[in-house]
């Protein structure tokens, strides 16, 4: 059981405070959606949890160890991050991209060992990339490339998976498929997973838990049905959104102009 937790963290750039006393805990096997308006601090929170930004106050704890005391290699062996943009300039193959996930486990001379090859094979199989493995990533569709980058993160064999808008460049069917896949992987591989999402309906339908951020603070945190109520949605996202419920799952719909 892994826990990646932000403990009353604050962060900012220059004089601007982006996060204020944020408490969030991620646990193995669950996919958590991180939602909120633009500028609410979602990406900054993700970057703090990834150890990329050092909080100015509070701590980020990985099973009780302060991330600030770990070097990049040690963090990368535990926490994988799926970047928002995944354009490569150079003609890497899918297998080469997935193999990048092993970077933190290579020795000085970076010669892959059996365990590295096995982890890459497993990630490729898990994401159904076997046929695409020798292909160049820049020749793939957006959805295929997304899977390649996801496989790269899985090959890290970490305990936590952080995804920055994993559905940003995908059509609705692929958005759904991607989130179902991430949730399945979180369960199967016992990953503590967090995805920054813009689409509240995707978050409500396909994630185990939703964390709503507003103005650098956590406005709500819990099961979708408990979090996406009309008053929270109106307070965080502003007017003009109706909340409906179907089979116990809340939906947020834009209300027509009056």
């Amino acid at each position: 059981m892994t826990t990646l937790a932000a403990e009353r963290i604050s962060a900012g750039y220059g004089g601007r405070r982006v996060l204020v006393d944020v408490d969030v805990a991620l646990e193995s096997g669950a996919l958590v959606a991180l939602v909120g308006p633009n500028g609410a601090g979602k990406s900054t929170l993700l970057r703090c949890l990834a150890g990329l930004v050092r909080p100015s106050g509070g701590r980020v704890l990985l099973d009780g160890t302060d991330l600030a005391s770990l070097d990049r290699g040690a963090i990368a062996r535990r926490i994988a991050v799926v970047p928002q943009t995944f354009d490569t300039l150079f003609p890497f193959t899918v297998r080469e991209i997935v193999s990048l996930g092993r970077t933190a486990r290579l020795g000085l001379l970076a010669i892959p060992r059996g365990a590295d090859v096995a982890a890459v094979d497993r990630a490729i199989d898990d994401l159904d990339l076997r046929d695409l493995a020798p292909r160049r990533v820049d020749e793939l569709s957006g959805g295929e490339r997304q899977r390649a980058v996801l496989a790269m993160a899985l090959a890290q064999d970490g305990d936590a998976l952080l995804l920055d808008e994993p559905t940003a460049h995908l059509d609705p069917a692929h958005q759904r498929a991607t989130l179902i896949l991430i949730r399945r992987l979180a369960r199967e591989r016992r990953l503590a997973a967090l995805a920054v999402l813009h689409d509240l309906n995707l978050a409500a339908a396909l994630c185990d838990r939703i964390v709503v951020m507003s103005d650098g603070r956590v406005a709500a945190d819990g099961a979708p049905s408990g979090v996406l109520d009309p008053s929270t949605v109106a307070a965080v996202f502003g007017p003009g959104l109706d909340v409906a419920t179907r089979d116990g799952t809340p939906y947020v719909l834009p209300s027509p102009p009056r």
Binding site: A50, L52, D71, R72, G73, I75, A76, R77, I79, A80, V81, P83, T85, F86, D87, T88, L89, F90, P91, F92, T93, E96, I97, L100, G101, T103, A104, R105, L106, L108, L109, A110, V149, M152, Q156
Partner: protein, 332 residues
């Protein structure tokens, strides 16, 4: 084609091109005499020409080509910029300034110090360009090119200042001219030895760090989340590129575009992984420059063209082609 086969073909091509480079020159020497001279026999005049002039010359050309190509691979990989190479980023200009300073103040004593001074100049230039290019938090093709223009202009002005101001420098004008126009010119056996050691070190570092440059495929931040100590890798890559650019400038002056063109051509064959790319680019760059240098010696024989003229005439149109193809990135 598999990587070992590609490397084998390139190594064979290098041996052939070295042979061609030794055969070509102002005095016609047959292949049989060349072999005899290399083995230590033959008549004295032929032996002297082959062993003391042409052999060091082709070795120097091979080192320069390998160094420039690998430096290009390193700079392109780190900056994710297909248009980066020692020449375009101003590292070569910085190296030339370092070399000219060494020649100006040490005169005939400069010799083996020139590659080290060129390394220092290249390192300073590459560090400044890196800092300038990162202004605003991210590197783009455009910022690196602009930073390179600034660096080249500054180093050029400083060289001109030294040329005009220093009486001592005028005594060594011929050597300074070689540094500026790009001609393979070996000042002393010591200089060749030092430069060779630097090139071997630079390529070895590039081979070691190659897989970590792969992790920059999605940018510096993702390299960090993959476990790369980005500060350390940046320093190793920039220092290696500076070592290689410095050695190349010390041996052949400002030779443009080899570091740009060769990695591109090689990438199309061996793919994007930086370790195979470094190995194949080193060999391909050596072949290209040995042949270009041989061409420079025969094009207007008995007059000799600086090899930089050949690489410039061929490389500049190629650079424009790349620029046109990558215009989308530049606008971003």
């Amino acid at each position: 084609m598999r990587l070992p086969a590609i490397l084998g073909v390139l190594a064979a091509a290098l041996v052939v091109s070295l042979g061609v480079g030794i055969l070509v020159g102002a005095v016609a020497i047959g292949p049989g005499d060349v072999v005899a001279a290399l083995a230590g026999g033959g008549d004295r005049a032929t032996g002297t020409i082959v062993r003391e002039l042409r052999l060091p010359r082709v070795i120097a050309a091979a080192l320069v080509g390998a160094a420039l190509a690998v430096a290009g691979v390193l700079l392109q990989g780190l900056t994710r910029n297909p248009l980066a190479d020692p020449y375009v980023t101003g590292s070569s200009a910085g190296a030339a300034l370092g070399a000219v300073i060494a020649i100006a103040f040490l005169g005939p004593l400069a010799g083996a110090v020139v590659p080290l001074a060129a390394f220092a100049g290249a390192l300073a230039a590459v560090a400044v360009v890196w800092q300038l290019a990162r202004l605003g938090g991210r590197t783009t093709v455009l910022t690196i090119l602009l930073a390179g223009i600034v660096m080249t202009a500054f180093a050029g002005a400083a060289v001109t200042l030294l040329l005009v101001a220093s009486d001592r420098l005028s005594l060594r004008l011929r050597a300074v001219l070689d540094v500026l126009v790009g001609a393979v010119n070996i000042g002393s056996p010591g200089e060749l030895t030092v430069a060779a050691a630097i090139v071997v070190l630079g390529i070895a570092l590039a081979l070691v760090v190659g897989p970590r440059i792969d992790a920059y495929a999605f940018g510096e931040e993702t390299a960090a989340t993959l476990g790369v100590d980005t500060d350390r890798v940046t320093i190793v890559v920039l220092a290696s590129a500076a070592l290689l650019a410095g050695a190349a400038v010390a041996l052949a002056g400002l030779v443009g575009f080899v570091g740009l063109v060769v990695p591109h051509a090689v990438r199309a064959v061996v793919g994007a992984g930086h370790r195979p790319l470094v190995a194949a680019s080193a060999l391909a760059g050596a072949v290209v420059l040995v042949l270009a240098d041989a061409g420079a010696r025969v094009a207007l024989a008995p007059a000799e063209l600086p090899v930089g003229v050949i690489t410039g005439l061929i490389g500049a149109p190629f650079f424009i082609l790349l620029l046109v193809r990558s215009r989308r990135m530049i606008l971003v």
